[in-house]
């Protein structure tokens, strides 16, 4: 049994719909779900004004439609699944503590912001501030995994403390800004100022990066943790090279201006 939601009409201004979460809907009947309140701009309207709802009482949500302006889907969810066929708006899975979100389409900014645990997979492109700390907050994502098959925007993993972010496509500037821990894997590299102000944590890039002058070259090596990571990521269709016969990682330490103990590993194929 699942709950199927179809977007009837695109909202004219952002629709804040944190009720689109398994935690909220799991115990509700169909009519109760339709009556849930969403914010269309400043107006409070029932969910059914924007969505057709099939099904009830389930931890599995399937949402269809171009949801670019629908924000906060899966916010603070702790279990269950959300599957989206279409694109989604900002703050997808923000503050979530468990469960899975899968998006067959593009996502916007702030996905998985300050998440504590859980899994998010975006098959298309995503925006900026993935797994980041909200403005002013000390720490971003604390655990969990975010996979984006496509490209990403600015400040990916900003102030993240733990957890893993994997990007298939290229990221924009300030990837790993002020990072405090965790891992970011860049399969197609990133633009400039990668790792700026990073304190701790690891950024792994499969492509050469333009390094900031405050990062110091340390050594070429093949850290053993990469083969553990490779094993974990294999089921998600991600190949992380680790064998010395395939190449080595160049290690850069930084950001020395903070001064930080982070590292950036850049893969150099043999």
């Amino acid at each position: 049994m699942t709950i199927n939601l179809h977007l009837k009409q695109a909202p004219s201004v952002p629709l804040e719909a944190e009720v689109l979460s398994p935690n909220v809907m799991a115990e509700l009947s169909n009519s109760e779900i339709r009556a849930l309140v969403v914010y269309h701009g400043k107006r409070q309207v029932p969910l059914e004004e924007f969505f057709d709802v099939d099904g009830e009482r389930s931890y599995e949500l399937i949402i269809h439609g171009e949801l670019n302006k629908v924000r906060l889907i899966g916010r603070a969810m702790s279990r269950g699944t959300v599957t989206v066929h279409g694109s989604v708006g900002m703050h997808l899975g923000a503050l979530m503590t468990g469960g899975r979100i899968e998006v067959h389409g593009d996502a916007s900014d702030w996905i998985g912001a300050e998440m504590k645990n859980g899994f998010i997979h975006v098959h298309g492109n995503a925006g900026g501030q993935i797994g980041a700390a909200y403005r002013g907050a000390l720490a971003g994502m604390k655990n969990g995994t975010i996979i984006v098959d496509g490209s990403a925007g600015l400040e990916v993993g900003m102030r993240m403390r733990r957890g893993t972010i994997i990007l298939g496509g290229p990221a924009k500037d300030f990837t790993g800004l002020q990072m405090k821990g965790g891992t970011i894997i860049l399969q197609s590299g990133a633009e400039i100022r990668t790792g700026a102000w990073m304190n701790r944590g690891t950024i792994i890039s499969m492509k050469p990066l333009q390094m900031m002058p405050t990062f110091a070259y340390a050594s070429d090596f093949n850290p053993t943790f990469t083969n553990v990571y490779a094993k974990q990521l294999k089921p998600h269709g991600i190949d992380l090279p680790f064998a010395g016969s395939d190449g080595t990682y160049q290690r850069f330490a930084g950001d020395l201006s903070v001064p930080g103990k982070g590292e950036i590993l850049v893969w150099q194929p043999a």
Binding site: A133, Y134, R135, G136, A137, L138
Partner: protein, 547 residues
């Protein structure tokens, strides 16, 4: 018209300790002997207090706005007030927005608040914000102890001129009294240093010391007959071993009236952070033998908050200790300001000592007319957490449970475990209402006698003290029922209390050239016009020295 029947009344100003009596309120919002007709509230089995009075809080103005801007992360997780027919939108949290501040204070039964630190330069802004804080009545204090025009006169020994300058500034800011923050220290901070002891020299001055400023300013406040005496934030706040500074400061106040703000932050022994301990017993002893001085606790509660003070040098030190965010403002030649978000943790020994010290002061100072409930909002904790402090004061068992959760190393550093005093309801009413009202010189507040303002809070009596004090059944402001059954019913505008101390007419011409030398603003634009104050309420100065 309103009649409240059958409630147990706690009215320390009139010595009424839990007697059942009716209260009548006329159409002008005053308490009277009797009324004909109108609504009757049956308060049988309930407890009636005069509306709460916060003697020291920070709710409006430039520093508060800076703090709001610096803590956006708090706005996301905090209580949101959604707009309704009768209520404006807003946010609670560490630094609540204006409208929310009024709702939160009133929701807790407080009807008068004193914004304790206003530089004249941001007085206009502060009054605009205060006008947007509904329900509660307000007073403001002007920051004076580091005002360079005044300090210049003190240095030159021109006492009369200094007095005129202070009076001029009070009226220019449309305020209610004088606040002194780290006298001389903030002026020195502008040279990169501080003035921690009463005999320290002050950068930029030759003979002036913090001790001289303290004594002279207290004399000025007495001579001007301000209804509220000098409101002093002592030098050397927050530092281990600062008890000696505080006691030295108090010696400089002999023979004067004064209010010592947030004395918890000024009552530490030890030599450094590792040996810091509570020295509240010494401070309490001083208060117990000197009834001319009042104080508020400035108690600390564990959790997140944002610290705001005009004490710029201390805030820089706190920032160095935390490594978190720091905001610093230089308010031209009047004062400074620092903002640092902070988390008080029970596992942190220094924080644990601070937590205990605040409670110790409230329990060791015998006379509740001398020590008032405060957290120095938002520095020690947010004002909407006052009921937690009341619970700690009223229930020794609960207090001991909390002490048991502190680190073992706390033993020998605090005296709280040895104190078994429990506040009675009568003492709570004194400490949160009648006492602060009297210290502020607001005779119509904190008093349920005939002729006083009908600011009344009615609690449903229950064993859970924290719950009882955070959820009053009714709150009545100036005779109007503003909170009923946990809901905001009316949001009337509050008044602002002002004084106009007299000063020599030539003070204007004395100030003008100095002003044009020092300030970035033109002289004519500087004083706040009386028309700017939405509901001004003039209070008379008293002639203390003519008694």
């Amino acid at each position: 018209m309103l009649r409240i029947t059958g409630g147990k009344i706690y009215d320390p100003a009139n010595g009424i300790d839990g007697h059942v009596r009716d209260i009548c309120i006329n159409d002008r919002g005053k308490i009277v002997d009797s009324v004909d007709g109108g609504r009757t509230i049956n308060a049988s089995g309930m407890i009636i207090f005069p509306g709460g009075v916060d003697v020291h809080t920070h709710v409006a103005g430039g520093a508060m706005n800076f703090a709001r801007a610096m803590t956006p992360e708090d706005h996301r997780r905090t209580q949101a007030f959604i707009r309704t027919q009768s209520r404006r939108s807003g946010l609670g949290g560490m630094a609540p927005t204006t409208f929310a501040t009024g709702y939160l204070y009133a929701g807790m039964g407080f009807t008068t608040v004193n914004e304790a630190a206003v530089p004249v330069l941001s007085a206009r802004h502060t009054h605009e914000e205060l006008a947007d804080i509904p329900i509660v009545d307000k007073a403001t204090l002007t920051l004076m102890a580091n005002n360079e025009i005044m300090l210049d006169q003190m240095e030159a020994g021109e006492y009369e001129r200094a007095k005129n300058v202070v009076a001029w500034y009070i009226w220019a800011a449309k305020s209610y009294g004088v606040k002194a923050v780290n006298p001389g220290g903030v002026a020195a901070w502008k040279w990169g240093s501080d003035a921690k002891q009463m005999t320290d020299s002050i950068d930029g001055y030759n003979s002036l010391t913090p001790g001289k400023i303290v004594t002279m300013l207290a004399t000025i406040c007495d001579d001007l007959g301000l209804p509220h005496p000098m409101h002093l934030h002592c030098n050397n706040l927050g530092a281990p071993g600062n008890i000696s500074t505080t006691l030295d400061t108090l010696k400089h106040l002999e023979g004067h009236r004064a209010h010592i703000a947030h004395s918890q932050y000024h009552a530490y022994g030890g030599d450094d952070w590792d040996t810091m301990c509570s020295a509240t017993a010494q401070l309490a002893e001083y208060f117990n033998t000197h009834p001319n001085i009042t104080t508020d606790a400035g108690a600390v509660l564990f959790g997140d908050t944002v610290t705001i003070t005009a004490d710029g040098p201390w805030q820089h030190l706190l920032y160095k200790l935390t490594g978190r965010k720091w905001g610093n403002l230089d308010v031209e030649n009047e004062t400074g300001c620092g903002i640092v978000p902070y988390t008080y943790r029970p596992s942190n020994l220094v924080n644990a000592v601070q937590w205990a010290s605040g409670l110790e002061l409230m329990l060791l100072i015998k006379n509740p007319w001398q020590v008032f409930l405060s957290t120095d909002h938002p520095n020690g904790g947010c004002f909407w957490r006052y009921p937690e402090i009341i619970q700690l004061l009223m229930c020794a068992d609960f207090r001991n449970e909390c002490i048991a959760k502190l680190p073992d190393k706390i033993k020998g550093r605090i005296t709280l475990p040895e104190i078994d005093r429990e506040y009675t309801l009568y003492e709570v009413a004194t400490s949160m209402s009648a006492g602060p009202a009297r210290a502020l010189g607001l005779t119509q507040k904190g008093n349920l006698g005939v002729g006083c303002d009908a600011d009344i809070v009615i609690y449903e009596e229950e064993d859970d003290v924290a719950r009882m004090f955070s959820h009053p059944r009714y709150v009545i402001k100036a005779g109007e029922v503003v909170i009923e059954d946990g809901e905001i019913r009316e949001t009337p505008e509050g008044r602002e209390f002002l004084v106009k101390p007299s000063y020599a007419p030539e003070t204007d011409e004395f100030m003008r050239p100095r002003f044009e030398d020092c300030y970035t603003m033109s002289f004519e634009n500087y004083p706040v016009e009386i028309e700017r104050i939405e509901n001004p309420n003039m209070q008379e100065c008293i002639n203390a020295n003519e008694d």
